[in-house]
């Protein structure tokens, strides 16, 4: 009984120091999956730049080196140095249970960013996930294509081809499901999928796939691709076959530099931007809130954003 009381007292004391500590200054440990990845670098800089606007916040950013074990040691080191909160961009989303347990045992708030942890449903109270919902990416893309088809007078019936990413990849599965979900709504039920095939996220495979589709001569009104790379491959195949790509309705996801250039040139019509810097900022906000003891939602969503020729200029330098 005495021990329990002591523990409770200690706990309150610790909580107290954590609270007063964060009011004046907060130490945040950040472990990134890897430094040498374009997207994750934008995310990392999003955290760093945002932290610079808050003089009381000190960051310690570590490179997980794409190694589950290295990342775990980094988290242990953060815990040992008693940071106020930890941000983890998991190397492997299946290895997060161990990380969650370490942080929970030490009672240090933990925020996962970008990659959704597999233990999402069982996350302890002071842990959260900040990222973008793949349900949005394919939905935004397909809804926009649906709108373009309607605007083009195809509202009574339209044929589309669907290009899938790697078949066992969560993003590919989800984005393809999004396409089907949008087509199932009464608004877009005029769309019919002629064929749906994988091109493994790759541009060269997409070129071959599109070329094969073109040989069938079946009239199509749009191509919906799971990512920009495959959409660009499809466009190249169309160009090789003498198709006027300016009038083709084709969409992708990612808003890569080349995709934006293609959109500028009038070829790609739709892409979707994932806000890496926004995710970084959101992760830091959530970590600071948790450090203060504020309750946050288990999943904090940073919305995907639709990119079209109308708003492309805002995105040219973002990725």
């Amino acid at each position: 009984m005495k021990k329990l009381a002591l523990a409770a007292l200690m706990g309150t004391l610790l909580m107290g120091t954590a609270m007063t500590g964060s009011a004046s200054a907060a130490n945040i440990g950040v472990s990134m999956a890897q430094f040498n990845d374009n997207f994750l670098t934008v995310l990392r800089n999003g955290i760093i730049d945002y932290a610079k606007t808050m003089p009381d916040v000190t960051l310690q950013v570590e490179d997980g080196g794409n190694d589950v074990n290295k990342q775990l040691s980094e988290v242990q080191n953060f815990i040992a140095s008693k940071v106020d909160a930890i941000i983890v961009n998991p190397v492997d989303t299946d290895a997060t249970t161990a990380i969650s347990k370490l942080a929970a045992d030490a009672n240090i708030p933990l925020v996962y960013v970008n990659r959704q942890p597999s233990n999402m449903d069982t996350l302890p109270a002071n842990q959260a996930f900040v990222g973008s919902d793949e349900k949005d990416s394919g939905t935004l893309e397909t809804k926009q294509i649906c709108k373009l088809l309607k605007d083009g007078g195809k509202g009574s019936g339209a044929n589309v081809y669907v290009m899938q990413g790697q078949l066992n990849n969560q993003a590919a599965v989800q984005r393809t499901q999004d396409i089907h979900d949008v087509i199932a709504t009464s608004d877009c039920s005029f769309i019919k999928i002629i064929d749906q095939q994988t091109a493994g996220w790759q541009r060269d495979q997409a070129q071959s796939l599109m070329a094969n589709w073109l040989t069938a001569g079946t009239p199509y009104d749009a191509v919906i691709s799971n990512n920009d790379e495959m959409a660009l491959g499809a466009l190249q195949a169309m160009k090789a076959a003498g198709v006027d790509t300016k009038t083709v309705i084709i969409g992708g996801v990612d808003a890569t530099q080349e995709a934006l250039a293609s959109m500028k040139a009038g070829d790609l019509k739709v892409t979707v931007f994932q806000d890496a810097a926004g995710q970084g900022k959101g992760a830091l906000d959530t970590a600071l809130a948790l450090a203060k003891g504020t309750k946050v939602d288990k999943a904090v969503w940073v919305p995907f954003q639709l990119v079209t020729p109308e708003n492309i200029d805002t995105y040219m330098s973002k990725n």
């Binding site: 374009n38 078949l167 541009r203 071959s208 796939l209 094969n212 040989t215 190249q236």
Partner: protein, 340 residues
């Protein structure tokens, strides 16, 4: 049997003496598969599969790049070896090549000072990369005697590492118009066919070819008959590396980009084409023509599946069955010849 046994030790390919070369069987298989799709096409979607110039073109075009790799892999397999590194070498060579082929108008070029270079620069750099990778493979295999499977597995991992490291995972795009024109239109097919013809002649009519077959048939006998086996193996693997680099140049030019994930699985597709084309995994037997036919079978199947709108999941399963079938057939042929 007696005739086969006599041919075994000699440095001449046994299949050349037969009145009925195995390539005829493969050609028959190719025609049978194509006709099968033709019939299914009329039955299922009321369309001709073969009477469609655009489709005939894409059938070859989509396998031309891996086909170039397969020409090198065929020679390696004829020596009794294997090359698992080709796909990774393609990606490494493509990324490095492309970084010397960018236009000056692109603000994020890898080497901003080295843009708009004459086309010969990236080509030479690319070929040098492939040559180096192949040379390392060959030297390790010939002089350390470790199995080709392991040596090229190491190169497969390392070369992929190089392509990831070179631009830290970023794609390299926006090539000059001259570079983009290397593989525009049906040029990949022309490059593939020219390379195939050259190596078919080399393998059949030159000392290089006879030595390659001899080493694959029986390396000890080849050594006794005065062939420098080590030096020849280095040459064969180096050529395979160079051909991977040619494929890298073609694939990056055709896609207008080079990426670390490029060429993934090329090595296995190339090996599959080679085996389907009748080259024995036990070495000593096979031909470039066979590999070209094997590549065409691949092309017909890919186009056929898409033509029939067969779900992507089933395509992979069926592709695996065809590869196993070809190897089983090879083992069966070898058994008849008494080699295993």
């Amino acid at each position: 049997m007696a005739e086969v046994a006599a041919a075994k030790g000699s440095s001449v390919d046994a299949s050349q003496r037969r009145p009925w070369p195995s390539e005829v069987n493969i050609l028959a298989g190719l025609i049978a598969i194509a006709l099968m799709f033709e019939v299914l096409g009329w039955l299922l979607i009321h369309q001709s599969f073969l009477i469609n110039p655009a489709r005939l073109q894409i059938m070859i075009l989509q396998v031309a790049i891996v086909g170039i790799v397969a020409v090198g892999v065929t020679q390696v397999i004829i020596t009794g070896g294997i090359d698992l590194s080709s796909g990774s070498v393609v990606s490494a060579a493509a990324i490095i090549t492309m970084s010397f082929a960018q236009v000056s108008t692109y603000s994020r070029a890898v080497y901003p000072a080295l843009t708009n270079l004459p086309i010969i620069v990236p080509i030479a750099v690319g070929l040098a990369c492939g040559l180096l990778a192949g040379l390392i493979n060959g030297l390790i295999i010939a002089y350390t005697k470790i199995p080709p499977f392991i040596a090229t597995l190491g190169m497969m991992v390392s070369a992929r590492g190089v392509s990831n490291w070179y631009t830290k995972g970023q794609p390299v795009s926006f090539p000059t118009d001259a570079y983009a024109s290397i593989a525009s239109g049906i040029r990949p097919v022309i490059i593939f066919i020219v390379i195939a013809i050259i190596f078919q002649i080399i393998m059949r009519y030159t000392l290089y070819g006879r030595r390659t077959y001899a080493i694959g048939s029986n390396a000890d006998a080849a050594r006794v008959s005065g062939i420098n086996v080590e030096r020849h193996l280095v040459l064969v693997y180096t050529l395979a590396g160079v051909l991977s680099a040619v494929a890298a140049i073609v694939v990056s030019s055709r896609n207008l980009t080079a990426q670390a994930g490029m060429g993934f699985g090329y090595e296995l597709d190339a090996i599959a084409m080679t085996v389907i084309g009748g080259t024995s995994l036990y070495g000593g037997r096979g031909s470039i023509i066979g590999t070209v036919l094997g590549a065409l079978i691949f092309g017909v199947i890919i186009s056929g599946f898409t033509f029939l709108r067969i779900d992507a999941f089933y395509q992979e399963m069926i592709k695996g069955v065809i590869i196993i079938g070809a190897v089983v057939q090879d083992v069966y042929r070898q058994r008849r010849r008494g080699r295993i």
